[in-house]
């Protein structure tokens, strides 16, 4: 077995276009009966490294992450996370990952502590271990002062902190971030960037999905560029920079995606 924590091989995902979906999509609906969201995609993520999955809106990034998190089933291909196959051991996969979406996904009527405890309980965490992790995370993220207040009254920054605590309370080997800084202010975004670095330094495998090139340059060790469901580039940051024909990451990305179009 290789040292890869996430192995994605020839991954494909097609969605059936039902009448209802076609009606909802209107003029933007595809002509065929299916929509290929992810098309023959392969990549690996290693422990202690950040893999940046980049792509414009609708590239298939979120679908790929949902497939890795076993929320969706692949049409073809395989995904192995920490030795567990998503097809045969989906619970084993979900046990190993923490998944953070751009949408904070919190329950407004719960307190920060209740929210985090809920996810710890879903991971069947030992109460002592939970309390130890909770104290550490709440202190690191600065949640302690509003730990017993209901989430409904939190600012977006406070919400994102609770969301992070929820994601990593069970100390997962793999952390998946799906556009985690979308809609956040500079300070909160910087906090998340620091957290991703910390996770990497602790030897975690980080899969980071974004379309903000500044964050890619700052954080990623490996890069995958996804467009219209296909992987257009997959390699290390150095390999990406070595084949760049434009001055900035952003220009290179636009050039690459534009050529593909």
């Amino acid at each position: 077995m290789s040292g890869d924590m996430i192995q994605v091989r020839n991954l494909c995902k097609e969605f059936k276009i039902t009448r209802r979906i076609r009606k909802e999509l209107g003029a933007g609906a595809p002509a065929g009966k299916t929509l290929t969201a992810v098309d023959d995609v392969s990549f690996e993520c290693k422990p202690g490294r950040v893999f940046g999955l980049l792509g414009p809106n609708g590239a298939g990034k979120t679908t790929a992450l949902r497939l890795i998190a076993t929320m969706l089933k692949p049409t073809a291909g395989t995904i192995i996370v920490g030795g567990a196959d998503t097809a045969t051991d989906p619970r084993g996969v979900r046990d190993r990952i923490g998944f953070l979406t751009g949408n904070t996904g919190l329950y407004d009527r719960l307190t920060a502590t209740e929210m985090v405890r809920y996810h710890a309980d879903l991971h069947l965490m030992d109460p002592d271990r939970f309390e130890e992790r909770r104290r550490m995370l709440f202190a690191t993220l600065g949640i302690e002062e509003f730990a017993n207040r209901r989430i409904a009254r939190f600012s977006s920054g406070m919400r994102q902190k609770v969301s992070i605590a929820r994601t990593i309370i069970h100390d997962p080997d793999v952390i998946v971030f799906d556009e985690p800084t979308t809609g956040l202010d500079v300070m909160t975004s910087r906090g998340i960037v620091n957290l991703i670095r910390q996770c990497r330094d602790e030897g975690k495998t980080v899969l980071f999905c974004t379309h903000i090139m500044g964050e890619v340059k700052l954080l990623c060790d490996d890069i995958g560029i996804l467009h219209r469901g296909r992987m257009y580039f997959c390699g290390t940051k150095e390999e990406f920079e070595g084949q760049m024909t434009h001055a900035s990451y952003e220009d290179e990305f636009i050039h690459m995606v534009g050529e593909a179009a």
Binding site: R91, T101, N103, R109, E114
Partner: protein, 398 residues
């Protein structure tokens, strides 16, 4: 199982902090029946008082042809007699509400009565107006005068009064008051219980499915180690419990309503009402409502998870609420009884069985068939719900 309990505990905490759920689960069921009882009692009392106090403008033409009868009418304080109106004006005056009714006594009235013949009186009234009560009173006055005349004739001719009553019915009603109340009020109660159970479960069910989608929390829940089955079961338990709780709270509302109306209910009926609200009856009704709550909860979750938002889920479930009310309403129709066939029809069987339980006339075989039918439906709807929660198109419509 641990994760199902975790989900259920969290959902309980979450929904019980939702004002909307509290309103639909506790406040509405608790207050609706006492409020309804108070309104009905007050309206009936008001109508009775109004009917007692109401005076009727009665025009009489030909009063001189039946002086004895006319005296009877004049002696009744409910009638304001007018002799200044012509028969030709009766119709127009009654139509414009200047007159309630008019009677015309023909010139040969007294002669025909004297000759032991049948005399007639013409009565003008408007059945579409509120004169219905007045008509009954006027008929009452005529009947009592008629009886007086007939009695006089029987005495004068030395006839046996039984000559005109060939058959006397000696009615012996073997129904207990509990049975009578069960068949009348008993039909109305399941209607209330089912409605409150559905609405209570509906708001919680939407919040835990479409609401979860709308808030973006479903995705994080799906990325946890909990399986889809555990997620569905955790939510299902909470929604079903809230549905049952709403129905039981409406029973408590009924109890409070009866306590509040003790002075208005006849003592003999009150004893029966307390028997109806006994622990045994309440437990039997609750066991009937249990599988129904399971069916409602599973259907609500399965349908609401299709929606992208709370609002969309409401619009999906509103027609469904009409579909479930229809069988309950059907159970209110006269002649529809619980038998082997109707016991197999879900919802209708709850409505009919509740009536029988309250009346104390429930057939155990029919009750067993009802349970089997309801549990089968609940199991099927739960399976259906799990299938929907496993469909990617349902969970990720975007």
């Amino acid at each position: 199982m641990n994760r199902t309990i975790t989900i259920a505990k969290k959902e309980f905490t979450d929904v019980l902090r939702d004002k909307r759920t509290i309103l639909m689960m506790i406040v509405m069921p608790l207050l609706a029946i006492p409020l309804l009882m108070t309104i009905v009692i007050k309206v009936v009392q008001r109508q009775e008082r109004k009917a007692d106090e109401e005076q009727i403008d009665l025009a009489v033409v030909g009063a001189g042809y039946a002086p004895r009868f006319f005296e009877t009418l004049q002696a009744d304080s409910q009638f304001v007699i007018r002799e200044d109106v012509r028969e030709a004006d009766f119709e127009s005056l009654i139509r414009e509400d200047s007159l309630d009714a008019g009677i015309v006594i023909p010139p040969d009235f007294q002669d025909r009565i004297g000759a032991d013949e049948q005399a007639s009186i013409a009565l003008y009234y408007r059945s579409s107006s509120s004169f219905k009560v007045a008509e009954q009173r006027l008929r009452g006055a005529v009947d009592s005068y008629d009886e007086e005349i007939v009695d006089g004739r029987i005495r004068r001719l030395s006839l046996d009064p039984n000559l005109f009553d060939a058959i006397a019915i000696e009615a012996r009603d073997i129904s207990t008051m509990q049975e009578v109340l069960g068949k009348t009020v008993g039909g109305f109660l399941p209607y209330m219980f089912v409605i409150f159970m559905f609405t209570g479960a509906m708001y919680a069910g939407i919040d835990l499915s479409a609401g979860e989608k709308e808030r973006g929390t479903l995705e994080t829940l799906l990325s946890s180690p909990a399986s889809r089955l555990e997620i569905v079961l955790g939510k299902f338990v909470v929604v079903a419990t809230i549905g049952i709780a709403s129905a039981l709270i409406s029973m408590l509302g009924l109890y409070l309503g009866v306590r509040g109306a003790i002075g208005e209910i006849p003592p003999e009926a009150l004893d029966v009402v307390w028997d109806i609200l006994s622990l045994k009856v309440v437990v039997m009704i609750a066991t009937l409502l249990l599988p129904l709550a399971a069916f409602f909860s599973a259907m609500i979750l399965a349908l609401a998870i299709q929606a992208k938002s709370f609002k969309e889920a409401q619009s999906i479930l509103t027609p469904f609420s009409i579909v479930i009310i229809l069988p309950v309403a059907f159970g209110l129709l006269p002649g529809i009884e619980l038998n082997a066939q109707t016991a197999m029809i879900p919802i209708l069987n709850v409505s009919l069985a509740t009536k029988e339980v309250i009346a104390g006339t429930i057939n155990p075989v029919h009750l067993a068939i009802s349970y089997v039918s309801l549990f089968a439906l609940a199991a099927a709807s739960l399976w259906f719900c799990v299938v929907w929660f496993n469909r990617e198109e349902t969970l990720f419509r975007n």
